[in-house]
Symmetry: C2
Subunit: 636 residues, 2 copies
């Protein structure tokens, strides 16, 4: 498949107008992007200093002082500029663009003669450039800046940032590779691979694709580069603590083509797999694509939370092993689900199987949206499926679990990742080849078609099942396929249709003004984890449409573990109120075990079950009321 | 209560001859003590070097070299000599005594002029003596050596070691206290408090009791000593990492009399509480005793595993919060249960309530015995109530859980602690005041009474319920009370008797040769944790007599979480075979969920339940066959 054969749509061709998602897109534009700009400039009272912009000023000689923040602090501005670029694409804003232009000028001023651009090593540790690829995130930061540069060029047509990054990447291409005098290194945190493919797509220069392919294929070979480089650093890494994680943490335990399980740091893993799929599509590398399918299968079948989260342990923020999906100690990082969506987008482009769309939707509607408060002002990094505030406060092994969303974190990875995904959401809804359109997501939007025609989608998802597609204008040979979501138990369609590879192909000769309406069954569903998932034995969770539901203390009182939802009890959909107004909640008759007695161990259960009305709220909306317990799974 | 009023018996007055425990006592004498001696002398091929004896030789100027091991390495020889002393008391052994005498000579040679005796600071870091009480274990090591010295004097009548330690303690008493020029410090790891009370008991010198009382009462006062001393060390602790634990880790968050919950490192906590009870009894300090009762209540009612283990998290090897008793990530250290037994012995002496005996028995028969393999050659430090080997190997948050017992550990705390407890077991069975005897444990033994009479106990516990007491000889005013164990649902007694404070007081005028037999009901019991213990919701465990039972993969196949023991199914006692020969196992008809289907999430359970024969083995005996899963709790 050449890059022109990859089915996708440009963000500029899609306008999102959705009853559910537009509010999130507005929040990103109106709250998150401006807030992050203040944060990057150290202007948030009481917040830890980011130092990000200041680091670039110091690197550019415009200010004196010391480097502030993490070794990967530069990535924040890359992610911010990427989100800004998407926002400018859909919502032009001269003042915001001016701000972005100014910061791009600053980046250019900070760039070294040779193209190098990483403020940590420019300002703080110039002698150790490229000396600890395992920990020091230089290629990771370069990747994020590069994604920002490509997006900014696509959004504005201005090439200053793109040129800065081309100079940097051209220099990187001289440093790394298998040629004489080159370093055989690869990044400790993957990211640049997928960014290089974006640069290849906009420039057409094969050397960028080659560099991405090099980083991917060099990874995990013997002798292990990360162990070799350690020797040059007095036998020490930048973050020696990471050592406990072993090479799996970095997905560098084996050459990528030999890897069969998703392992290590979950964000790194899915960024790598995204880059692998990008390269495989563009080079027609079927072996590499097969590796992507295999790793995706392992996640989908054995290492994925029902909420679309990944990463079972906070130690290394990592995958553990098959069917190990603890609810209360999960890491389930927001960024990892964002990365999973990146990966699934590419698998859709490469393979077009509907189940990739199902996974994308699962991660988007549940974990990613849960990552952000409904007012866009606070964020979860960690998205457990069960929360008991006393444990999260008093059990040190659950200290990573926050029971209320936090304003911003010193390590600002998740909020800007959510921002750039939601700002770019339009490009995830459709794939297109000429006038043949595939709709992967049910998000109200207008898609521009060749020749000035438009496809208009209106959608009630996630709370309703009705989705309508209307064609405006004449589109030669227009055809439409719609993903048949795994959650739809019944589907009706107003036009003749046929199921193909998980998609509903509409059998219709489309004319200007034609509409087709699909209605997906939205009955509440009891969902069971595979019996090999120990943590969920004897338990059930509820879903409706793409949404996973959960119990909250706000509706059900304390001690959620004493509740039970007996088999066979009907579950009904009801309207939410107050903070949950406009949402569909679920309600069922259940049982509450009412404890009496104070013995720690007794020959009787010390209590009895009573009838109780159970209320379930969408998982993405949890934690928007008072602090309290939450549980996705309930005993059946 | 004066020290003479404390009801206890000397080890030398008790001879253990028990069908169940004598084997363990033999193992300690024949396997553990000799093995540990080899370990202390670095003569175990392939094992990490202890360096313990060598450190003393270097300190004594008999060898040159560097200090080996942990900062608390000296404590090992204290615990070893204590176990040796108990062993010599019950089983004289001239060669072993000669070895002990030689090592005591070495300790004396290593002692400094001023009485100081800690090889880490003598050999490695002389400038920092007493500079980091929080982490450096000097007073802890002194306490263990002191316990050894008292025991050795009691066993042999030789006072060399006792005099060495008196010199050391006399010096310590000049260093610490509230007088002018004294340090207001106290130990980071409690232990010396209870040891000082032993020294007080054998010498009658009140200053030792005063020093113990000082350490206890100074603890946790403001300003916090550990924070003050930090300033003198360039604002750094010996183990900076401990800092994350906070003052609760050291039970130094508040003055001990204000403490209401058992917190922090579990071993430290129960050693402290033991010392507090010792001081309270000897000074008649009712307020301090009330604190002990309160802390004991908190453990008994809210922080104790059904196996008598304590310590819910490996992070800080610590208590967490009420009703938090995770089965698979428990720390449940063997040493902590040994310490709990120390504490309960003192509470029995102080208060005489049977429930202290129940807790002692629970810890002894389950966690402590599980800590040692049935051949005495390998040990568990951590005693979880659920083991899934794949998780313990692949989930880094369970790395502390070993699925097979280990030969010996670099930090040799648990094996010598088990050894010194089992070697001293005779002193835990009875309390005596004149000829009034109380039997707290059911262990076959002979107790020497004043005037040459003897009380002989024969016992079938833990597998049978029959216990017989026989008086040999004439004992003026002899009376007998027997603890009525919480596990005995029915009791028969061949003599008239009366229940008093949890004890069965035999109403009898005893004559030479008289016997009384009690039979405790030994029906298998279903035991439920309090409903507020989240981890055990919907689950049950089995007990019979004092023994907790568990499922093992060896009998029940893999995936123990798929098993269920439905309510009402009868449980029968059966004979063990092979490695479990001589034991009573439990058997019941249960259900096994047999999985089919490979979907990670599905609207059905992907399997069906079949009838299954469940076999439960005593928890203390788990892990004596092939490596595999284990679970105490099973879904009901």
């Amino acid at each position: 498949m050449t890059k022109d054969e990859i089915q996708s749509v440009a963000l500029r061709d899609v306008q999102v107008a959705d009853g559910f998602f537009s509010r999130y897109a507005d929040l990103v534009r109106e709250e998150v992007i401006p807030y992050q700009w203040e944060a990057l400039n150290d202007r948030i009272p009481g917040a830890e200093k980011s130092g990000c912009i200041r680091n670039f000023r110091i690197a550019a000689g415009q200010e004196t002082g010391e480097f502030t923040g993490m070794v990967f602090q530069d990535s924040d501005i890359g992610k911010w500029l990427e989100a800004v670029a998407y926002s400018l694409t859909t919502h032009p804003d001269a003042a915001l663009e001016r701000t972005a232009d100014e910061v791009i000028e600053l980046l250019e001023a900070a760039q070294r003669e040779d193209g190098y651009l990483d403020t940590y090593f420019i300002v703080k540790d110039p002698k150790n450039r490229w000396k600890c690829l395992r920990d020091c995130h230089e290629l990771y930061c370069a990747g994020h800046l590069l994604e920002g540069a490509v997006a900014y060029w696509q959004a504005t047509g201005k090439d200053r940032f793109l040129n800065v990054m081309r100079r940097y990447v051209d220099y990187i291409a001289t440093v790394f590779g298998r040629g004489e005098g080159q370093m055989r290194g690869y990044p400790g945190h993957e990211e640049i691979e997928l960014a290089l493919c974006k640069l290849y797509d906009v420039t057409g220069e094969k050397k960028y694709l080659d560099l991405a392919a090099y980083f991917i294929d060099e990874r995990g070979r013997d002798p292990k580069y990360f162990l070799e480089e350690r020797k040059t650093r007095g036998d020490a890494f930048h973050w020696e603590g990471n050592d406990a994680q072993g090479m799996e943490y970095f997905q560098a335990h084996a050459p990528v083509r030999e890897q069969t399980e998703a392992v290590g740091h979950a964000v790194r893993a899915v960024y790598l797999y995204s880059g692998m799929a990008d390269v495989a599509m563009r080079t027609g590398d079927e072996g590499l694509l097969e590796t992507c399918r295999r790793l995706c299968r392992n996640i989908a079948d054995k290492r994925l939370y029902v909420t679309g989260a990944i990463g079972s342990t906070y130690i290394g923020e990592a995958f553990t092993f098959d069917y190990d999906l603890p609810n209360d100690t999960a890491y389930a990082e927001t960024c990892a689900s964002v990365g999973l969506i990146f990966f699934m987008k590419r698998m859709l482009e490469a393979d077009g199987a509907a189940e990739y769309g199902d996974m994308m939707e699962r991660a988007l509607y549940n974990t990613v949206l849960a990552g952000m408060a409904m007012d866009g002002k606070s964020f979860f990094y960690v998205n457990p499926l069960e929360v008991f505030p006393e444990a999260d406060e008093k059990d040190p092994s659950k200290r990573h679990v926050k029971t209320v969303r936090q304003k911003w974190f010193a390590c600002a990875c998740c909020p800007p990742n959510v921002a750039r995904l939601l700002a770019d959401l339009g490009s995830y809804i459709y794939r297109r080849k000429g006038s043949a359109v595939t709709a992967d997501l049910f998000i109200g939007s207008r898609l521009a078609l060749p020749g000035g025609a438009e496809l208009i989608q209106t959608s009630e998802v996630p709370f309703g099942g009705k989705v309508t597609f209307t064609l405006r204008g004449a589109a030669q040979g227009f055809s439409l396929r719609v993903r048949c979501p795994e959650w739809a138990e019944g589907v009706t369609c107003t036009a003749p249709c046929r199921k193909e590879n998980g998609y509903i192909a509409i059998q219709k000769d489309w004319q200007d003004g034609d509409s087709v309406t699909l209605v997906f069954g939205m009955e509440p569903r009891r969902i069971y984890a595979n019996p090999l998932v120990r943590q969920d034995a004897g338990k059930v969770c509820l879903m409706r449409g793409p949404l996973v539901y959960c119990l909250e203390e706000a509706d059900n009182g304390a001690n959620l573990h004493l509740l039970r939802l007996p088999e066979g009890e009907p579950v009904e959909a009801v309207r939410g109120e107050g903070a949950l107004f406009g949402m569909t909640l679920l309600r069922a008759k259940g049982r509450r075990f009412v404890p009496h007695g104070s013995r720690l161990y007794a020959p009787d259960r010390q209590g009895r079950e009573e009838e109780a009305r159970l209320t379930f709220v969408p998982y993405f909306a949890w934690g928007n009321r008072d602090k309290g317990e939450m549980a996705v799974y309930v005993r059946e």
